[in-house]
């Protein structure tokens, strides 16, 4: 069978006809799409265009070729198109299905194969392995043993862009001090540690727990939790990711916690949508209980306590870059801003176009460095407009990307990027 025929079959099998039909081609999603805007308003790189392409491939209306594949490859998966869509098109699901349809027909080259295998069967399955890879990165950082790092294959996915990324990697972590208890919240939560957060940003996880406990929230860290599976899902490897999903649902299924907390926007969105992939009662319960750190801190009483603190002299301008998935999928927009607005000693300034993707988008910045770089440049242009001392994010990918942006623009002397947890923790610690 021809490539087109095979692809058509695969699309018929993977991509939902009903979801495609939801799109009424009104184009309302266009102005929210970073790839459309960054590629000269090219309809090929718009949500409406991509949906039309999915439809056309599925219906056998066009011959499959690399230009079509490129359109799907260049989608950030930021899902800014979803809240903009008046018809409620589930674009995120459609692009996941499309990537699976394509991936299932692929015989990847040896490099990509190894990289995918390492990434999806090992690294992003078990925290321990991720830990090892990350410590390798650290060796690399210290000794410049480029070769050793390149060997783990995963980093073959890291092209030029890696240079600025690597400069942005956080230093070796220090143990986290607990905070004085200030509140007696009755909430009980389970903490989803996440793979990147538990390795590269282990310290942030420690601070997350410290903040929750400060409010009197009881924190449990269930054993046997795995990487959330988002990267699998977004790369057309959902089948491999399903194992993670099943196991996570199992280990978090307990009446002992009110919420399952995460501090990584990208993971949080995927966790929130577990029920889509596993529509069991347990799956639904998992999704319903999933919450991000800012929201749970507010539920635990952080704002009241902050508001009662004595006013302090303003030392720094702080801004916030939305994590796309936290904003577009979980709808968490006001909570992080409310926290920042109430922190003593800072002044919060809204970043123009904070809702626009920074170009990180999972491992997109590694796979599509050029466009990711363009998008980052635009982001930094807006950052420079308000010139903050700190750019706050709520997702490891965005954090790395913003750090890379600061390095690219040579602003590291007076600007830094921080996870919201790290900033809140440090300000509270300073004020203790």
């Amino acid at each position: 069978m021809s490539k087109t025929g095979l692809m058509q079959q695969s699309f018929e099998h993977h991509v939902s006809d009903d979801l495609l039909l939801d799109c009424m081609r009104c184009g309302f999603c266009l102005p929210s799409c970073p790839t459309y805007l960054h590629m000269g308003q090219d309809e090929t790189q718009s949500p409406r265009g991509r949906i039309a392409l999915m439809r056309a491939v599925r219906d056998g209306f066009i011959e499959w070729d690399s230009s079509i594949e490129r359109s799907f490859d260049l989608c950030l998966g930021c899902r800014a198109c979803e809240p903009a869509c008046p018809a409620g098109v589930q674009y995120g699901t459609l692009i996941e299905q499309t990537r699976e349809a394509i991936q299932s027909l692929k015989t990847p080259g040896i490099v990509e194969k190894t990289a995918r295998k390492i990434a999806f069967d090992h690294l992003f399955v078990e925290q321990k392995k991720m830990g090892k890879a990350v410590s390798l990165v650290k060796v690399y950082q210290k000794s410049g043993l480029q070769k050793a790092v390149r060997k783990i294959g995963f980093l073959n996915l890291f092209p030029k862009h890696m240079k600025s990324m690597e400069a942005a990697l956080p230093p070796v972590e220090k143990p986290v001090a607990t905070l004085r208890k200030v509140h007696t919240s009755p909430l009980k939560v389970a903490f989803f540690t996440g793979c990147l957060m538990d390795t590269l940003y282990k310290e942030t996880n420690g601070k997350t727990i410290a903040l929750l406990e400060m409010l009197g929230i009881e924190v449990t860290i269930p054993d046997g939790q795995k990487c959330c599976g988002a990267l699998h899902g977004h790369s057309g490897e959902l089948a491999r990711g399903l194992k993670n999903i099943e196991q996570n649902i199992e280990v978090f299924d307990s009446d002992d916690f009110d919420y399952i907390v995460n501090n990584a926007g990208g993971c949080g969105a995927f966790l929130k949508e577990y029920e889509k992939h596993l529509s069991t009662e347990k799956g639904q319960r998992f999704s319903q209980k999933t919450i991000d750190i800012s929201s749970v801190l507010i539920k635990g009483g952080l704002l009241d306590w902050l508001q009662a603190l004595p006013k302090r002299e303003v030392k720094a301008v702080v801004t916030y870059q939305d994590s796309c998935h936290l904003r577009n999928v979980n709808g968490v927009i006001t909570e992080p801003r409310a926290i920042l607005n109430n922190l003593p000693g800072i002044v919060y300034k809204e970043l123009p176009k904070a809702d626009m993707c920074c170009g990180s988008a999972g491992i997109y910045n590694l796979l599509q460095p050029e466009l990711a770089g363009e998008i980052l440049k635009t982001k930094m242009y807006h950052v420079k407009e308000i010139n903050p001392a700190i750019i706050v994010t709520a997702n490891p990918g965005c954090l790395l990307q913003m750090q890379a942006g600061i390095h690219l623009e040579n602003l590291q002397q007076n600007m830094q990027a921080m996870h919201i947890v790290d900033l809140v923790y440090s300000i509270i610690k300073e004020n203790e």
Binding site: D18, L21, D22, M24, R25, C26, G27, F28, L30, P31, G40, Q41, D42, E43, T44, S46, G49, A52, L53, A56, F61, I62, E63, D65, S67, I68, R70, S71, P86, A87, G88
Partner: protein, 469 residues
């Protein structure tokens, strides 16, 4: 596509602005119209009128159809290629050319997004009133070519009331300037008016000069619910008769209200036959007076709940119902076909009744909402393109709806245009002599029929249904 023509396009525009990959051709093979799609042969992005002139020379030499395209949000298949050809984009022509605050005009390139234009002039205390619901994404060139209207049409008019001058590239590659900034100008035929609403069939618009007015200072919004359509319609007539011209007077029928409530859960009463949203702007005292008077008229005519928004947030809430009508309806079935029949406002209730009867008779699902103040209704059919038998019934129902609109002294489109979709019905409205004259005009402007061919004029006219209900 002819290799030599392609080469010449590349010479004029540079390779990167001539697109012809499968993905690119497909992405410009449709617009917002349901059920229309055909592939172009090439997609061109010029940056100046001069380049467009050169493109037209190539098109004439090789007999290549050219299809101007803004954002492709039109609902009449106006930008769907009819028989291949070149889609012409304005994405690189989206600048303000001159903002003249002394003469209260702005001159822009056609690719500027309508909302960006509105925001720009509003930031200077000026007002460009036409506001099609698609303004977030539609281009000003598309608005001019469709003569788009909006929620403020009743008081402020539609696009044509603001277009003062145009620069157009004609089919033979000549540059034409019409009108200008003058408040008064009666030199010769009014070509500006002819080109506004020409749906890209007479020339390529490359510059637009628009009239601006002062920005009103105050706005108030109110809503009223009715148990009978007649009560709502009488309210509309009486408001106008008492010499109030509200900025907005919008209507939702029961089916639409139910759909919106299911979708948004904003607490709309669902046991009502109609809902009116009205808004006035201007000076504070006049706005207050008008809004109170309109509320009184609504009550007098049987409105059982009226509610005045106390602030901008509440006003937004009220307007949400109208704004999300289409999305809410689109949730109910896979395919949504929005139509655009207009009647004199005195015939509003009668028209809605006829639409409902037609839907019932043809066993199709149609909800109606629209601009009550100007009689512009949007009967919206919820269907499934995959069901061919049902689609035939839908087409029959729409033919009957157009017939009913004409029968009541109305028209087959109030703002969306003819395009390809409604071409078979145009003769119903303008008659044979109208069609002949229009075809004659088209032939003078575009003797080789290369600019957006296949639009407005159909191969065949549909037979009129002649149903008397």
């Amino acid at each position: 596509m002819n290799e030599r023509a392609l080469q010449q396009f590349q010479n004029i525009l540079g390779k990167e602005h001539v697109k012809n990959s499968t993905a690119q051709l497909l992405a410009y093979s449709y617009d917002a119209t349901a059920n229309f799609q055909r592939m172009p042969e090439v997609v061109l992005s010029p940056e100046s009128a001069q380049q467009i002139i050169e493109i037209l020379h190539v098109c004439n030499t090789f007999n290549i159809p050219i299809i101007p395209r803004g954002s492709g949000t039109n609902l009449a298949a106006g930008t769907v290629p009819y028989a291949g050809g070149a889609v012409l984009l304005f994405n690189r022509m989206n600048r303000v050319i001159e903002f003249d605050q002394e003469n209260l005009t702005i001159t822009v390139q056609p690719g500027m997004i309508s909302e960006d234009l509105c925001k720009f002039v509003e930031s200077h205390g000026l007002f460009y009133p036409p506001d099609p619901s698609s303004m977030k994404i539609s281009t000003i060139g598309g608005n001019v070519s469709e003569n788009s209207g909006g929620l403020r049409g009743l008081k402020y008019g539609v696009t044509k009331d603001y277009v003062k001058g145009l620069q157009v590239v004609l089919a033979n590659g000549q540059l034409l300037k019409t009108g200008g900034k003058l408040a008064k100008d009666v030199a010769g035929y009014d070509l500006t008016s002819l080109l506004v609403g020409a749906e890209g069939t007479l020339g390529i618009i490359t510059e637009i000069t628009l009239k601006l007015i002062p920005l009103p200072t105050k706005k108030m919004t109110s809503v009223a619910y009715f148990h009978s359509l007649e009560d709502a319609a009488r309210t509309v007539s009486q408001i106008i008769a008492s010499k109030i011209i509200p900025v907005t007077l919008e209507f939702l029928d029961q089916k639409t209200i139910v759909a919106v409530e299911q979708f948004m859960k904003i607490g709309l009463p669902t046991d009502v036959e109609a809902m009116l949203v009205f808004e006035q702007d201007g000076d504070e005292t006049i706005v207050m007076k008008d809004i109170n008077e309109m509320t009184r008229i609504a009550k007098e005519n049987g409105a059982f709940i009226t509610q005045l928004a106390k602030d901008e947030i509440e006003a937004e809430k009220i307007k949400t119902a109208r704004r999300v009508a289409l999305s809410a309806l689109s949730k109910l079935r896979p395919t949504t076909i929005l139509e655009d029949a207009t009647v004199p406002r005195s015939a509003l209730a009668e028209m809605v009744r006829r639409i409902n009867k037609i839907a019932e008779r043809n066993n199709v699902n149609i909800a109606t909402f629209g601009h009550a103040g100007d009689g512009n209704l949007h009967p919206t059919c919820l269907t499934d393109v995959r069901d061919h038998e049902e689609m035939e019934r839908v087409e029959q129902a729409f033919a009957e709806i157009f017939e009913a609109a004409l029968d009541l002294g109305g028209t087959i489109t109030g703002e969306h245009g003819i395009g390809e979709m409604k071409a078979p019905y145009l003769e119903w409205k303008v008659g044979e002599s109208g069609i002949q004259l229009m075809k004659g005009i088209k032939a003078v402007f575009d003797p080789n029929n290369i600019i957006n061919p296949g639009k407005i004029f159909a191969k065949e006219t549909k037979k009129r249904v002649m149903l008397h209900v």
